[in-house]
């Protein structure tokens, strides 16, 4: 790890100001950034820790029924506090990493990093969530822009994520054997106006919606509705743990299982 300055603001305004400095980097739960720093793979001059900002933590339900989660809320808190309102989302949070990761990692940190194998992007895109920052509101469909790439501007902080609560939803993750990240993860959510299917871990473009499956499931919410569909292997990630063909195959298998689990 290289030396850096650590700033620990207690308000959003202070954090935004601190992030305006050169070479400043936001630090959420640190579950990706700290290992990166330890391996000397990054050298920010200043880290701005968001963990002291109470205003961006917590889970609550809006009057319109949407679930709102503060950007600084840990996975463990979501797993616990969202369970009664959005069990599919809470179960996803409960399956991220291990207890230590869930105790430190935050939803804002995960969405800002947009790791192609992370779980939360599938939930946010699969729910049609709104990413709220200190500056604006961004629809999930506009937010995810490829591997490790998002619509966030430099220094922009995720303060809140708003999830419309579906009638039914489930997440199915097939774990990469070493990292236990999603080799492929599929989030399926059924809303009154249609079904959304979001896939993580599989594509070189990061999280994506499988629109053919959405159309098929919107008219028949059953695993059987997928039987004539297939996912092209083009553009899928190929590595030691999965070829593009294998990942494409898993997308279909896991979508079917997610539908079965949600039904």
């Amino acid at each position: 790890m290289y030396n850096f300055d650590l700033i620990r603001p207690s308000t959003l305004e202070e954090a935004v100001k601190a992030l305006g400095q050169d070479e400043a980097q936001a630090l959420g739960g640190g579950q990706t950034l700290i290992p990166t720093l330890k391996q000397r793979l990054a050298m920010p001059e200043t880290l701005v820790s968001l963990s002291g900002i109470d205003a961006i933590k917590g889970v609550c339900v809006h009057d319109d029924g949407r679930l709102s989660i503060g950007g600084g809320t840990t996975h463990a808190t979501v797993a616990r506090e969202a369970a009664a309102h959005y069990p599919g989302l809470a179960a996803l949070a409960a399956s991220i990493g291990d207890p230590a990761v869930r105790a430190r990692g935050t939803i804002g940190g995960s969405l800002a990093n947009n790791d192609p194998s992370a779980c939360y992007p599938a939930a946010a895109l699969g729910s049609g969530a709104t990413i709220v920052t200190n500056a604006r509101e961004i629809a999930a469909d506009d937010y995810f822009q490829g591997m490790f790439t998002t619509a966030l501007d430099d220094g922009e902080i995720i303060t809140e994520v708003r999830f419309p609560v579906p009638e039914a939803a489930a997440y199915q993750k097939f774990e990469q054997p070493a990292s236990r990240f999603a080799l492929v993860g599929v989030f399926v959510a059924r809303y009154a106006d249609g079904v959304r299917v979001a896939v993580t871990g599989a594509s070189e473009e990061g999280v994506f919606r499988w629109s053919e499956a959405e159309a098929a499931l919107s008219s028949n919410f059953a695993a059987d509705a997928l039987k004539d569909l297939s996912v092209p292997a083009d553009g899928m990630i190929g590595d030691l743990h999965g070829t593009p063909d294998y990942r494409a195959h898993l997308v279909k298998v896991l979508t079917g299982r997610a539908v079965a689990a949600a039904s």
Binding site: M1, N3, F174, P177, A178, L183, G242, T243, D245, V253
Partner: protein
């Protein structure tokens, strides 16, 4: 039988300090004020060094020294590591190219040490390392497990390090030619990274006259001799110690370059120097394990009796000979080549290959798991080809119980065994009868279920001699000096138990001393499942001598003739009287009377023969055909370990061993790309088994006491790994056989299993 003696399931006394954070591992023992060392390693797999400029690093903040081959040379250090070689089949010796401590002119694998930077802090040493200028003119990289490619060493054209063979090729060919049935199978044994929980590390201190090196290892005396030789010191001027060790598994059994460079840095700077590998560094630079491919063939008569066995193996050595690299897949694998089967016409040939990868050497079992894996996969394959029960084929071919002592084709004298009885017990304990129903249940849930058997035998290796010294202290304790080296196995507990059995000395009075070349003159360290058998035998002999030494003194104390003194349950007793004295009290009396000669006792013993633990591992797997995921769902072990010294510890060794074996089988795999870069250099890509990946492992003892040692025991440290790989492999093959899959190789990762199923499905269409 004493409550604390042999065969009691005593809990491990050392676990208290291990679990409450007061263990003393490498980092805990570094001297105050030690400088920190960081190793600058080759970033490329093969090439000539054209520039190595460390001037800026040497001038950096906090830096005390930067060593390269040039500095070692200037200081008169012998820049070379030692290694054994095998004898080729033509009578010549295996290649012995020099392996430097720090690279000389050329680098041959990614991670090879090039320079050692020593600074006040680790961060300063790492900062300085970034200032080193290294230019390497690339040479072609060879990572293929076959002869060929640009020679990595001039001593080994085609990268062939050795060409070793055992047995009568012609006679074996004759048997094969006349056999009623023949089978053949090519079998991969994938490369693993050992990943001991505590990485390697060392520190060194030079006081102007003596060198003290402390390292995380498996025995201190070998390193002492090598440090003395390479640094030009007398053996008496080198003191080597080892604190608590968080796992060795054979990987820590050999010297590594860092230990010599750190010692020399301590001598040059006059300050203690401390080096500890981080995890990524360990994955790059620790000796790897396995990494071989074998073609195995078996010949049977018309009655399916095994009459000939032939194996051709190609073994990856990495870039240089490690300490015992050449011997593992040749001489050590040979020990159990034919396993538990009665077959005498054999031929075993092994080629060792250099590649631009880190060295490969001993890993839990060291050649014996590899040999048993090949044999037991082939026996299973044979049974399937013949349409016979794998269980019945084994029973038919076992060395019969009345044939012991039995000299195997390898020349090993198996002392005792009753393989048929052990296998029958396994059939019952594993509920073989119930498998059909379990398979049907799995099938109803969409899963393919398979059952796999491995009947293994192990040969205990390592130095058969060991010394024990007992010393009564003036604080009422008894110090037990051992020549073995615990790496976490529980030696402190089991040795105190054995001492208690033969002397009655309370377990809590024992102070355990190991891993110190000044305090202990010699020893064999840990390796080859030798520790408890060799040290236990020596403790027994030392105990007898101790009682013998005390008897005349006690006789005088009790007013009796020496021949009237009995010793039982820790007490000397004058026969026919009510006069007795405990050993601890007798020791106090001896001290009071100036008989200090009685307070120390030492004996060395040598085992008359090796023991051969053996047993049956029965594994059941469930495979999800949609994803290729393999889950080990049931695991049963029936072992003949002879007399168990501590059943709990023995079972623990089996559990750990099985998990290492099934880890290799279902997920572990070290992969290099064509440029020799390690693709699995972190736990993000190198899969280690976790508790959730393993079922409950049931362990049963079906003992036939060994006659090759006075304790009747058989070493059990490696047995779990020896049995596990083929048990899992055969279970996976069983699950996939009906889908038309005829060859399966470790690791059984989801991707590989799915690919086999997918290909088989496409072929069927």
């Amino acid at each position: 039988m004493s409550k604390f003696g042999i065969s009691q399931p005593i809990k491990r006394v050392e676990d208290v300090r291990f679990l409450n954070g007061t263990g003393r591992y490498m980092d805990d023992t570094a001297p105050e004020g030690a400088l920190r060392a960081y190793v600058f390693r080759s970033p490329v797999a093969h090439g000539e060094i054209t520039t190595l400029d460390v001037a800026d690093a040497r001038a950096a903040d906090g830096v005390h020294a930067v060593l390269t081959a040039a500095e070692l040379d200037a200081a008169g250090v012998r820049n070379q590591m030692d290694a054994a070689v095998v004898k080729n089949r033509d009578g010549s010796r295996g290649a012995a190219p020099p392996r430097p401590i720090l690279a000389i002119d050329r680098v041959r694998y990614v991670g090879e040490p090039v320079a050692l930077i020593v600074a006040e802090t680790l961060a300063q040493a790492k900062d300085a390392a970034e200032l080193i200028e290294l230019d390497v003119e690339d040479l072609p990289v060879w990572t293929t497990l076959a002869p060929g490619g640009e020679a990595i060493h001039p001593e080994a054209p085609e990268n062939l390090a050795y060409d070793w063979a055992f047995g009568d090729a012609e006679q074996t060919e004759k048997v094969f030619a006349g056999a009623a049935h023949r089978v053949s199978l090519e079998i991969d044994d994938n490369r693993i990274i050992v990943n001991s929980m505590e990485p390697r590390g060392c520190w060194a201190r030079w006081d102007g006259a003596r060198m003290h090196v402390s390292f995380s290892g498996q025995g201190v005396w070998g390193l002492r001799d090598q440090i003395a030789r390479n640094l030009g010191l007398d053996k008496g001027a080198v003191h080597v110690t080892t604190p608590d060790v968080g796992g060795g598994f054979g990987m820590k059994g050999f010297a590594y370059p860092e230990y010599f460079a750190v010692a020399e840095a301590a001598r040059q700077t006059g300050r203690p120097v401390h080096w500890m590998a981080d995890r990524s560094e360990s994955m790059l630079s620790d000796n790897g394990g396995r990494d071989l491919v074998s073609v195995a063939e078996a010949a049977f008569d018309e009655d399916y009796k095994l009459i000939g066995y032939r194996v051709h193996t190609t073994s990856n050595l990495g870039a240089y000979n490690s300490g015992f690299g050449q011997n593992i897949q040749s001489e050590l694998a040979l020990k159990v080549l034919t396993g538990t089967y009665d077959v005498q016409d054999v031929f075993f040939a092994v080629k060792g290959i250099y590649t631009n990868t880190v060295q490969v050497d001993a890993y839990r079992g060291a050649g014996r798991p590899e040999a048993i894996y090949v044999l037991e996969r082939l026996m299973d394959h044979a049974a399937r080809q013949f349409g016979l029960s794998p269980w019945a084929l084994r029973q038919k071919n076992f060395i019969p119980a009345d044939a012991f002592p039995y000299v195997s084709a390898s020349g090993e004298t198996y002392d005792v065994g009753d393989f048929g009885r052990v296998l029958s017990r396994a059939e019952k304990e594993a509920d073989l009868d119930g498998f059909k129903a379990r398979r049907a249940d799995s099938g109803a849930a969409g899963k393919l279920r398979g059952i796999g058997l491995c009947y293994y035998i192990e040969s205990i290796l390592g130095d058969p001699s060991e010394t024990t010294k007992l010393e009564f202290t003036d604080t009422g304790k008894v110090r037990l000096y051992a020549g073995t080296q615990s790496n976490g196995q529980g030696h402190e507990t089991v040795y105190a138990q054995i001492l208690n059995e033969f002397t009655g000395i309370p377990m809590d009075a024992v102070e355990f001393v190991q891993g110190d070349s000044d305090l202990i003159a010699k020893g064999g360290g840990t390796g080859g499942s030798r520790s408890v058998t060799t040290q236990g035998t020596s403790i027994k002999a030392t105990s007898s001598r101790l009682i013998e030494n005390f008897t005349p003194f006690v006789a005088e104390e009790l007013d009796a003739a020496p021949e009237e003194i009995d010793f039982e349950d820790g007490n000397f007793h004058a026969r026919g009287t009510n006069k007795f004295i405990g050993l601890m009290d007798a020791a106090q009396a001896a001290r009071d009377k100036g008989r200090d000669d009685l307070l120390v006792c030492e004996a060395e013993t040598k085992l008359p023969g090796r023991s051969y633990p053996n047993g049956a591992h029965v594994c059941e797997v469930e495979i999800d055909p949609e994803t290729g995921q393999t889950e080990v769902v049931r695991y049963t072990v029936v072992d003949d370990f002879g007399v168990l010294m501590n059943p709990t510890l023995a079972e623990g060794q089996v559990h750990g061993g099985v998990v290492q074996g099934l880890g290799q089988a279902i997920m572990e795999n070290a992969a290099y790309d064509a440029d020799g870069q390690l693709l699995t250099g972190t736990f993000m890509d190198y899969a280690m088994p976790r508790a959730i990946d393993t079922p409950f492992i049931t362990f049963h003892s079906e003992p036939v006491p060994s006659t090759a040692n006075p304790l009747g025991m058989k070493g059990c440290g490696e047995a779990g790994t020896v049995g596990a790989m083929a048990a899992v492999g055969n279970a996976v093959q069983d699950a996939l056989w009906d889908r038309g899959i005829r060859r399966v190789d470790m690791p059984f990762t989801p991707l590989r299993v799915w690919s086999w199923l997918n290909r088989a499905d496409m072929a069927a269409e």
